[in-house]
Symmetry: C2
Subunit: 711 residues, 2 copies
C-alpha cells in the first residue's frame, strides 16, 4: 500500500521525531551566541540557516569601511534577553519591548508609520489596502525609538507580533481588568515582547546599535550594502508612454515635451515594446519598433534615456524559452515560465539577451513589474524550483534577483542606471530601483515614502491622473519631492499639461526639482557612501544632529518628511485650505522666502496652489543650479547658488562626480565644504573649501542669505 | 558558544536533511493507498498524521449504519490521479479539476458561494470582510458539481488554490494569449487542478461519492458524526438581554414578552452574569444574580430556558484558575489563561464547575464566544500547549473542544441543548451549536446561511438593530427562517417591538416559525439521522429528487435557499420593491396562497412588507401546528394541519419524539407517512400511516389542499 518513498519518509519521520522534534529548544540566545561582526552590529545564528536568505539573494556585502566610520557603539540592551525557540517547524524569536517603546519599519507601509500593537505577516505581495505585512517590500527590519534596530535575515514569510499576545509567564504583564465594570479595559492588552515566527530550518538575527534611530538605520543600510547613487539624469523627469505606443508615437511625445518646455530626461516604454507580453519575449516588437537602433539613437539625440518595462515571466514565443524551461519552477505566471535565477545558467541566458538586444544598444534602465503579487497571479507558496527553493522562499527574493541581474549588467558597463521595481527586500538598498504600485491614494503614497526610509528601500508617489487640476498639482508637487519624479501614463495617456489651467504651476514644480540637483545629489551621496536615507521620516532626525527628543504626533509622522538633513516637506493634499506642520526643535525658515516659520512648534500654513510648503532648518544650506530642462552632460559646468537660512553657523558638504559611472566608488568624486562665515563687523559671507579633489561641475558659486535680519 | 540543546538540534538537522528532506516525494497517491472505509467513502493517509486532527478533536465517529443506508456508489473519478507530495515541511495535495467544474464549500463564506478561481487560507478567524478562508468555520471540505466531495482532515491552516496557479507541466494548460493585442487575455488563467498545502507531518484525505452534490454532503456529514436535532424549544424564539442586566431586569424583560404576546422560549444572558469577564470566572455575579436558583426557577416557571454567554479564557479571579494554570498554553487571551482542553485533567476541572454551578441548576445552553479570532485577541500561531500542540493546531479546534465539552455535559443528563458558538469546524456537525458573528450585513448573512449547508455547520442571521422598520421586518423574516431565530440585544437593548409600526408583522413572522415546528423538526431529524442539511443551497437540490440539472445563476445562488426538500425561501432585503426568484425545474406554488408561481423559470415577485416569499414544490406537504407562543411541553398533544401544494402525488415522512432527550438515538421516535390519495372520482384526500411507533404528539390531523384546480 505504501510506496517505497513514503515508507522511507515515514521511517525518517520517526527518526526525526526522536532526534529533532524532541529537543525543540527554548533558550535565551545566550550572550555567547552573539558576535560583534562590525562596529555596533551583532549577529546570532538560530538553528541551521537555509541555503538562501535575503542578503545572499542580493549578494550583499557589508560596507565595513563605512561602518567603521560610523563607529562603535554600546550594546543597545542585554542581548541575552532575546529568547529563541525551535518549535513546530519554525524558529521563534522573542525580543524584549519596553512599555512605551515605539517600533518602526517592518515593511513598506501605506497607512501607518508606527507598527506597535500590530501583527504582520511579512510577505511579498501587492499592497491590498491594509498594512498587514503583505507589501512590495516586506523587509524584516525594525527600528526602535530606544535607538537600535533588529533584522531577521530570512527569505521566508515572517509572522511578527509587535507587543501583542501577552505570555502567561510575562515579566511585565498588563493589569487584569473586568470588562463588565472596570475602566480602561483593553481589547489588545500590551505585551512586553516582540515575537517573530519564521518557517524553515533557521535564521540569522542581526542587531544594530544606535544610539539614534537614524544611526541604527544607517548601520542596517551599510550592512546590507549601502545606498544607491542614481546617475544625475535619474533626478530628471520620467514620463511613461501608453502601452501600445510605436517608435513614432514616442518620438512625437518627446518632441511635445521639448516644445512645451517641460523637463524630460527619461522616457519609459510599457509592455507594447515587446513582441509579446504578457508573458514576455523581451524582444522588440517589429511592428511598433521596426528599428530599435534608430529609435534609441533618436532618443539619445534628444537627450532622453529609455527605460523598458518587463515582468520576468517568459513566453513560449521567446527565443530564450526553450533554454530556460528546464531551469524554471513548477508553476507558470500568466502562462510564462518562472526561471530560477538563483542558478547561474539561467541568469546567463537572460542576461545575454538583455545585454545584447537592449543595454548594448543604449537602453538605460528597466521597470520590473509584478515581482510582488497578487497571490492569484504568482506561483503558489509550495511551488518547487530546480535549485530546491520553495515558492515561499522564491516569492521573497524574486524582485531581488531581478534587480541584481539588471544592476550587474549596467555595472559591467560602468554605467549607472535608475529604474523601477514593484518588489524589493533587504539587500536591494544598493540597487538603482524605486518601488511603485497600482494603488493611487495620495496620502498613502506619502505614508509609503515615509516608511520606506526605515527599511532601506525607495518609493515613488508617481502621478497618473487626477480628478481635478488642484489634485494634479498636489500630486505633481510630491512626485517632484520624491526619489523619482514620474508621470506614469501607460494606461491613462495623461500629459503634464493635461490640465491647461495649471500647466505653468506644474512646470515650475518640475523645474524646482531640476534646480535642486546639487542638494539631492549630495543627499544621495550620503545614502551611497554613508547609508543615510535621502528621504526620511520625521523621527529619523538624528538626536545628535539638528535636534533631539523628537516627539512628532502620529498624524504628522504620516504627512511630512525630510529630504536630507535640511529640507522639511509638508505636502498639501487636494481639498486642503491649510495644514498643520510640526517643526522639530530649533528655528525653521520658509524655503521660498527665508522668513522665519517657527521654533520647534506646530504651525498652520495656508495652502497656495503654486507651492508645496518647504522649510529649512536654522543654519541649513541649499545649493541650487539654474533652471534647466534636462540633467547636465558630464563635464558641463554649472553656476551654483547657495541659499543660507537662519542665522546659525551653516555648513554643507557638497558632493560631485562624473554623474554617470561607478568611478565614484573608486574615489573619483569631489567634496566641497560650503559654509557661512561672519566677519569682524558682523557681516556674513559664504566660503567653499575643497575637502577632496575630483570631478566638480559647479562654478561660479554665489551666495544668497535668505533670512533678513539674520546675523 | 552553542548550547547543548542547539548542538544536538543541529546534529539532528543534519540527519534530517539526509533522511527526511532528501526523499521529499512527489507521487500519485496510487490507488493502492486509497481504501474504501464506508459505502462511497475512500480514505488515504499522506505522510504521518499528527497527534490531533479535526475529527479526533471532535471525537467524531462515522455513522456507519446510516452510511450503509445511503448506499454504495462508484468512485467519482480515478483516485490515482490525486497527486501528493511532501515538501518544505508541508503536505501538498493535487486534485484534478475539469474545465467547467464548479466547487463549493471550503469554509463559511459571506460574499461568495462558488469558490472556483480563489486562493483561500482556511484558518479559524472572524469574518473580516473578504472570503479568503479566514472564517468562523474554516472547514476543509469541498463539494463538486460533478457529484463528489473531498475532505482534508487536518487541524492546520490549509492553503488551497481552486483552479488557480497553472503548472508548467499541466495536462490541460490554458491557451497562451498576448496581452498586448490578443483578445480574451485572462489575468488568472484557469488551472486544471485544485492544490492544497498543509503544514505539519501529514494528513488524511477522504473522498465522498455522490452521485449528487447533496449525497456527497450527506456522506460527509454522516462520516463526521451526523447532524444535530435540537430540542423542540430550540425552534422557539431566543432573546439575548443587555450585558449588565440583573435577574430582575431579565424577569421584567421576559414578562414584557408575555404581555406583548411575543414568542419566547430562550433568554440569553451576556457577560454580566459572571462575577468577572473578560477574562471569565464562569461564576454568578453576586450583585446582579444574588440567587441563581431562584432566578432559574422563575424562568422555568415562565416556560423559559436560560442560555449563558462565555468565552473560554480563565480569569485569575476564577476558582478554577490555579488548577488550570499549569494545564494552559504559553499565551493569554485578555489576560486569561487558555486551558489545553485536549487534556482530560483540564476538561474535568472545567466540566465539574459548569455542571455543578450551572447545568445541574437548570441552565440549558451556552453561547461560546471568541473561539474564532481576531489574531490580535487570541494566542499566536507559535504558542505552545502542554499537550505539545501548537497555537496553529489549537486555533483550528478550540471551538470544537468547547462545543464537545458542553455537549457532553448535556448528553450525560440525557437532555438536549441548543446554543451558539463563534467558531466551528469539521466534526462539530453533531454538536448543538449555531455560528454567529459580529458583522451585520443582511445579504452576507444570507450568503453565510447558504454556504453553511455545504460544510456541516449551522449559521444564524441574527437580528440586533435596524435603521428602519422595513429593515427590521426583513431581518426578522430571515432570522425566523433560519436554524436559530434570535434577537441578540446584548449591546443595543432592542426589543421585537422597537419599531411599533411593524410590531404586528414581526409577531406574525415569529408565530409562523412556531407553526412550522413539525416541518422543521422533521427536516432536522433528516439532518440528525441521515445527514441531510436542513437549510440548503439551491444546488443541493438532489438531482435524483425534485429536479435534476440545477443551473442557478450566481446571483440567485446567493439570495435564495431551501428549507428541507419542499420549501424555497426568497428573502426580501430592505429597499427592494421586487426581486427575482429562480424556481428549480418543475412547478412551484406560493406557500401562503397555494397559487401557481411558475414552472422551472425565473419569476419576479413584488415585495410586500408582511410576508417573506416562500414557495413549495409540486407535491410538497407542509405540516403545521396552531400558533403558540412557546414550544410544546413533552407529551402535549397538538392539532396538525397538513398543507398540500400542487397536484403531483405528495408524500412527507413526519418525524416526532419526546422533544427533549437523546432517547431518539436509541430508537424512541415515531415516523408517520403523510400522503395524498386520489380516489376513483378524482377527489383528493390525505392519509397518515404509521411507519414507526414511538412518541407522536400530533392529533387530530387535518388536510388543506392549497392549490385550487389541482386534481
Amino acid at each position: 500500500m505504501l510506496s517505497t518513498a513514503r515508507s522511507l519518509w515515514i521511517l525518517s519521520v520517526i527518526l526525526l521525531s526522536t532526534l529533532v522534534l524532541a529537543p525543540d529548544d527554548s533558550t535565551a540566545a545566550g550572550s555567547g551566541a552573539w558576535r560583534e561582526i562590525a562596529p555596533g552590529i551583532w549577529k546570532a545564528v538560530i538553528g541551521t540557516p537555509e541555503s538562501i536568505d535575503l542578503l545572499k539573494a542580493a549578494g550583499s556585502k557589508p560596507r565595513l569601511e563605512a561602518l567603521k566610520e560610523v563607529g562603535a557603539a554600546p550594546l543597545p540592551y542585554d542581548l541575552s534577553k532575546i529568547e529563541t525557540e525551535r518549535f513546530d517547524g519554525k524558529t521563534i524569536l522573542r525580543f524584549p519591548l519596553a512599555r512605551e517603546e515605539g517600533i518602526y519599519g517592518l515593511g513598506l507601509n501605506f497607512q501607518s508609520v508606527s507598527q506597535r500593537g500590530k501583527i504582520l505577516e511579512l510577505r511579498m505581495d501587492h499592497y491590498g489596502g491594509a498594512d498587514n505585512g503583505r507589501t512590495h517590500a516586506p523587509v524584516p527590519f525594525f527600528v526602535s525609538d530606544r535607538g537600535y534596530g533588529i533584522f531577521i535575515n530570512a527569505a521566508r514569510f515572517i509572522r511578527i507580533s509587535v507587543g501583542v499576545g501577552v505570555r502567561r509567564d510575562a515579566a511585565n504583564p498588563p493589569p487584569v481588568i473586568d470588562r463588565n465594570t472596570g475602566k480602561g479595559w483593553n481589547s489588545v492588552p500590551p505585551s512586553d515582547v516582540i515575537e517573530a515566527a519564521v518557517s524553515g530550518t533557521g535564521v540569522e538575527v542581526i542587531v544594530f546599535a544606535g544610539p539614534s534611530m537614524l544611526k541604527a538605520v544607517q548601520r542596517f543600510n551599510l550592512y546590507c550594502g549601502g545606498g544607491v547613487l542614481p546617475p544625475k539624469w535619474g533626478f530628471g523627469f520620467m514620463h511613461r508612454t501608453p502601452t501600445l505606443f510605436s517608435d513614432r508615437d514616442v518620438a512625437a511625445e518627446a518632441a511635445e515635451f521639448e516644445k512645451r518646455d517641460f523637463p524630460l530626461d527619461v522616457i519609459g516604454l510599457e509592455p507594447g515594446w515587446q513582441s509579446m507580453s504578457y508573458p514576455c519575449t523581451f524582444e522588440w516588437d517589429k511592428t511598433r519598433f521596426p528599428n530599435p537602433d534608430a529609435f534609441l539613437r533618436a532618443m539619445k539625440g534628444m537627450g532622453i534615456r529609455v527605460n523598458l518595462w518587463l515582468n520576468p515571466y517568459v513566453s513560449p514565443a521567446a527565443s530564450i524559452y526553450a533554454a530556460l524551461r528546464p531551469l524554471s519552477g513548477s508553476h507558470l505566471v500568466w502562462n510564462g515560465i518562472v526561471p530560477d535565477y538563483t542558478l547561474e545558467k539561467a541568469r546567463t541566458i537572460f542576461e545575454d539577451l538583455i545585454r545584447r538586444e537592449q543595454i548594448d544598444r543604449g537602453v538605460t534602465g528597466y521597470k520590473i513589474d509584478e515581482v510582488d503579487g497578487h497571490d492569484v497571479w504568482l506561483w503558489p507558496d509550495h511551488a518547487r524550483f530546480p535549485s530546491g527553493l520553495s515558492g515561499e522562499q522564491m516569492r521573497q527574493i524574486y524582485g531581488t534577483l531581478m534587480q541584481k541581474m539588471v544592476t550587474g549588467l549596467f555595472r559591467a558597463r560602468n554605467s549607472r542606471s535608475y529604474g523601477l521595481s514593484r518588489g524589493s527586500n533587504a539587500g536591494c538598498v544598493s540597487f538603482p530601483f524605486v518601488i511603485y504600485n497600482d494603488s493611487y491614494n495620495h496620502r498613502e503614497f506619502i505614508n509609503a515614502l515615509i516608511t520606506s526610509s526605515y527599511i532601506g528601500v525607495q518609493w515613488t508617489p508617481e502621478v497618473r491622473s487626477s480628478k481635478s487640476a488642484e489634485e494634479w498639482v498636489r500630486r505633481m508637487q510630491t512626485a517632484c519631492f520624491s526619489p523619482l519624479a514620474m508621470l506614469n501614463a501607460w494606461s491613462d495617456g495623461t500629459k503634464p499639461w493635461t490640465f491647461p489651467e495649471v500647466e505653468d504651476v506644474v512646470r515650475d514644480t518640475a523645474y524646482m526639482r531640476m534646480r535642486l540637483l546639487p542638494y539631492l545629489y549630495s543627499v544621495y551621496a550620503d545614502y551611497a557612501l554613508r547609508g543615510l536615507p535621502p528621504f526620511r521620516a520625521m523621527n529619523l532626525i538624528d538626536a545628535a544632529g539638528a535636534s533631539s527628543g523628537m516627539h512628532i504626533s502620529n498624524a504628522r509622522m504620516k504627512d511630512q518628511y525630510m529630504v536630507g538633513d535640511n529640507l522639511l516637506v509638508a505636502p498639501i493634499f487636494a481639498g486642503e485650505k491649510s495644514r498643520k506642520v510640526e517643526l522639530p526643535p530649533g528655528r525653521w525658515f520658509d524655503f521660498y522666502t527665508g522668513m522665519s516659520a517657527g521654533n520647534g512648534e506646530t504651525i498652520t500654513v495656508e495652502a497656495t496652489l503654486g507651492k508645496i510648503p518647504l522649510y529649512v532648518r536654522d543654519g541649513g544650506l541649499i545649493p541650487l543650479i539654474e533652471k534647466r530642462r534636462q540633467s547636465p552632460m558630464p563635464g558641463q559646468t554649472l553656476a551654483l547658488e547657495v541659499r543660507a537660512y537662519g542665522n546659525a553657523p551653516a555648513e554643507f558638504v557638497l558632493y560631485d562626480d562624473d554623474g554617470e559611472t561607478y568611478d565614484f566608488e573608486k574615489g573619483a568624486y569631489s567634496l566641497t565644504r560650503l559654509k557661512t562665515v561672519t566677519d569682524a563687523s558682523g557681516n556674513r559671507r559664504g566660503e567653499a573649501e575643497t575637502l577632496r579633489r575630483g570631478p566638480m561641475s559647479y562654478s561660479p558659486i554665489s551666495w544668497t542669505f535668505m533670512t533678513s535680519g539674520a546675523k
